[in-house]
C-alpha cells in the first residue's frame, strides 16, 4: 500500500470526526469526534514518517498526540460529569444559561 492510501484513510477519519462533532447532540459523541480527528493526525504523522524516510519526528509527534488526547479526555470527562450532576443531561443544547 502506498502513502496515498494512508492519507485517504486519515482524510476520511478527519471528515467523519468533523461530521460527528457537527451533527451529534450528545457530548460523548462530540468527544469521540475530537478523538477521531486527533487519530487522523496520528495516521498522517506515522505514514509520512514511514514513507518520507525522515528522522523519527513524526513517530515522536504521534506519541505526544496520544498523551495529549488522553489528558484532554480526562479533563473533558470530569467537566461532563460535573455538567451531568448540575443539568441532569449531557447534551450541550440543554445547558443554555449563557446566551444573548
Amino acid at each position: 500500500m502506498g502513502l496515498g492510501a494512508y492519507v485517504a484513510v486519515s482524510g476520511a477519519l478527519f471528515a467523519l470526526g468533523l461530521i460527528a462533532i457537527l451533527v451529534r447532540r450528545n457530548v460523548i459523541y462530540i468527544l469521540m469526534g475530537i478523538e477521531m480527528i486527533l487519530n487522523a493526525a496520528n495516521i498522517n504523522f506515522v505514514a509520512f514518517n514511514r514513507f518520507g524516510s525522515m528522522k523519527l519526528d513524526g513517530q515522536m509527534f504521534a506519541i505526544f498526540t496520544i498523551i495529549l488526547a488522553a489528558a484532554e479526555a480526562a479533563v473533558a470527562l470530569a467537566i461532563v460529569l460535573n455538567v451531568f450532576y448540575l443539568f441532569d443531561s449531557i447534551k450541550p443544547s440543554e445547558a443554555d444559561l449563557l446566551r444573548e
Binding site: V7, S10, F14, G17, I21, V27, I30, L31, G33, I34, I37, L38, A40, A41, N42, N44, F45, A47, F48, G52, M54, K55, D57, G58, M60, F61, F64, T65, L68, A71, E72, V75, A76, A78, I79, V80, N82, V83, L86, F87, P92, A95, D96, L97, L98, R99
Partner: protein
C-alpha cells in the same frame, strides 16, 4: 555522564520555566497538606515565586539569543511576552486573593492551575518546534478548561467549561491535523527549517512545495491558522468567547482575556514570521505571504466589526468586555496582516497596551461585583460618586480602550493605523477607525452609568488591594501613553529577534 553534560549545560537557560514548575508542584503539595484550609498562604507563595521568575526573565532579556535543547528559543520576543504573562498572572493572583465572592471555595488548586497555564504559555511563545508549540498550547488549554469550570456547584461555570472544551478540543484537533499535513509536505517539524531548503536535503521548503502542490499547502496553512484563530477568538472561531468569559469566575476570565489571548498572538506572530518573513525565506513565499496577509486583513475587519456591533447591545458588563476583547483581537490582527516588520512591532505594542487596559477593566468589574453582586451595567448607576478613585481609573481604561489620547491605547492604535496605510491596507485602517467610533458608544455608556446619575447613599465597601491595582494600572496606561518610547523599543526588539528584516515591504 559525559553524554548528558551538554543537556545539563542547557538547563540553566530554562531557569524561569523550571522555577515555575517547582512552584506549581510546591503549591499543589502544600495545598494537599493544608487540605484546602488557609489557601491565602498559597497565593502569597505564588506571588513570591512570580517575582522570582520575573527577576530571572529580566536577566534573560540582556542575554544574547540562544536555543536550549534544540527547540526552546530564548530571545527578546519570547521574554517580552513571558514578562507580561508573569505580570498578568501576579495581578490575577491578587484578584483571586481579593475576590469577595471567592472565599467560600478552597482556592488552592486555583494557583496550581494558573501556574500550569503560565508554563504552557512560556513554552508556546518561545519555540519554533511544532511539538513543543502544541504541548505548550494544550497545557495552557487544559488548565484553562479546568479553571473555567472552577466553581463546581455553579451551573454557569460548568456550562462555560463544557463549551470551552468542546470548541477547544475541536480547534486543537484541526490545528494538529494541519500540522501533520505541514510535516508531510516539508518533512520537518521545525518552523525555521520549513522556511528554507535544508542543505542536506532532509527537508523541503514550503516555497518549493507551494509551487509543486499549492492546494495541500493552502489547506495545511489554513487549518493551522484556524487553531490560532480560536485561541485569539477571531471570527469565525469566536463563538465560545462571550459564553465562556461570562460563565467563568472573573479572575479566570481576566486570565483568558489577557494572558491566554496574548500568548496565542505571540505564537501566531512567531509562526507567520518563521514561515513567511524570516531572513533566508525564499522569494516565492513572499507572494504567498501577501495572500495570507489579505485573508488575515479580511478576518481582522470582520472580527472588529462583529465584536463592536455585538458589544453595543450588551447589558451585562462582563459580556460587554468579552465582545470588546473580540474587537481588540481584530485590531491587533491588523499588524499581523500587513506582514511587515514594523507591522509586527505595532501589533506587539498594541498587545502590551491590551494587557494594561484590560487588566484594569476586568479589575474594575471584579471590584464592582464585590460591591453590588451584579454584573449589569445598569447597577453601576451612581457608583462613580461613591468610589471616585476606582471609577476615574475605569474611565481612563475606557478612554484607552476606545483609543483616545493621551493613553497607551491611542498610541497603539495610531501605530497600527499608520502601518496598515503604509503597507497598502488603507481600507483596513478606515474600517478600524469607524469601529473605534462605534466602540465609543458602548464604552461611554459605562462611564455615563457611573457618573451621570446619582443614587442614595449606602455604606461603602472597601477593597483596598483591588483599588490599588486598578489605580496603578490607570497610571501606567497614561504614563506609557505619554512616554511610549521605552515600550516601543521593547516591541521593536521582537521582530528583530524573529530574524525579520526591517526593510521588507
Amino acid at each position: 555522564m559525559s553524554e548528558l553534560s551538554p543537556y545539563l549545560a542547557d538547563l540553566p537557560r530554562l531557569a524561569p520555566e523550571l522555577l515555575l514548575t517547582a512552584l506549581a508542584l510546591i503549591v499543589l503539595v502544600w495545598d494537599l497538606v493544608l487540605r484546602g484550609r488557609d489557601s491565602r498562604k498559597l497565593g502569597y507563595l505564588t506571588l513570591f515565586g512570580l517575582v522570582g521568575t520575573g527577576w530571572l526573565l529580566v536577566q534573560q532579556w540582556h542575554a544574547p539569543t540562544s536555543t536550549a535543547f534544540g527547540m526552546v528559543v530564548i530571545d527578546r520576543f519570547g521574554t517580552f511576552f513571558k514578562l507580561f504573562t508573569v505580570g498578568a498572572l501576579a495581578v490575577v493572583t491578587l484578584f483571586v486573593l481579593s475576590d469577595r465572592r471567592e472565599k467560600k471555595h478552597g482556592v488552592g488548586e486555583y494557583f496550581f492551575l494558573l501556574i500550569g497555564a503560565a508554563i504552557g504559555i512560556f513554552f508556546m511563545v518561545s519555540t519554533n518546534n511544532l511539538v513543543l508549540l502544541m504541548l505548550g498550547l494544550e497545557l495552557l488549554s487544559l488548565a484553562s478548561y479546568a479553571l473555567a469550570g472552577f466553581h463546581k456547584g455553579s451551573k454557569r461555570s460548568a456550562e462555560a467549561a463544557l463549551k470551552y472544551i468542546v470548541f477547544g478540543g475541536l480547534s486543537a484537533g484541526v490545528m494538529l491535523y494541519g500540522i501533520s499535513l505541514l510535516y508531510g509536505l516539508t518533512g520537518t517539524i521545525d518552523l525555521a527549517a520549513m522556511g528554507r531548503n535544508a542543505a542536506d536535503g532532509s527537508s523541503i521548503s514550503l516555497a518549493a512545495q507551494f509551487t509543486a502542490s499549492p492546494v495541500p499547502v493552502a489547506i495545511a496553512v489554513v487549518l493551522v491558522l484556524a487553531g490560532f484563530a480560536y485561541k485569539i477568538s477571531v471570527v469565525p472561531f469566536h463563538f465560545w468567547t462571550p459564553d465562556v468569559y461570562e460563565g467563568a469566575p472573573t479572575p479566570v476570565t481576566t486570565f483568558l482575556a489577557v494572558a491566554s489571548k496574548a500568548a496565542g498572538f505571540a505564537a501566531l506572530l512567531r509562526f507567520i514570521g518563521a514561515l513567511f518573513m524570516a531572513e533566508g525565506v525564499e522569494v516565492a513565499v513572499s507572494a504567498y505571504a501577501q495572500r495570507i496577509g489579505l485573508l488575515l486583513a479580511l478576518l481582522a475587519a470582520i472580527t472588529m466589526t462583529l465584536g463592536n456591533l455585538s458589544a453595543l447591545r450588551q447589558t451585562n458588563l462582563k459580556r460587554l468586555l468579552a465582545y470588546s476583547s473580540i474587537a481588540h483581537a481584530g485590531y491587533a490582527l491588523m499588524g499581523v496582516a500587513v506582514m511587515t516588520s514594523a507591522g509586527f512591532s505595532a501589533s506587539i505594542f498594541y498587545l502590551a497596551a491590551y494587557y494594561l487596559m484590560n487588566l484594569g477593566a476586568f479589575g474594575f468589574l471584579l471590584f464592582f461585583e464585590g460591591v453590588t453582586g451584579s454584573e449589569d451595567v445598569d447597577s453601576l448607576k451612581g457608583l462613580g460618586w461613591r468610589y471616585p478613585l476606582v471609577s476615574c481609573a475605569m474611565v481612563v481604561m475606557l478612554v484607552s480602550l476606545t483609543g483616545l489620547p493621551p493613553t497607551v491605547g491611542f498610541y497603539g492604535k495610531y501605530l497600527l493605523f499608520y502601518e496598515s496605510v503604509d503597507a497598502g491596507y488603507a481600507w483596513l485602517a478606515v474600517v478600524a477607525a469607524l469601529n473605534s467610533v462605534v466602540s465609543l458608544f458602548y464604552y461611554f455608556r459605562v462611564a455615563k452609568a457611573l457618573f451621570l446619575t446619582t443614587v442614595e447613599d449606602k455604606p461603602r465597601v472597601l477593597q483596598p488591594v483591588l483599588t490599588g491595582i486598578i489605580a496603578v494600572l490607570a497610571v501606567f496606561t497614561i504614563v506609557t501613553g505619554l512616554f511610549n518610547r521605552p515600550l516601543q523599543e521593547w516591541a521593536n526588539a521582537g521582530p528583530a529577534s524573529l530574524h525579520i528584516p526591517a526593510a521588507q515591504k
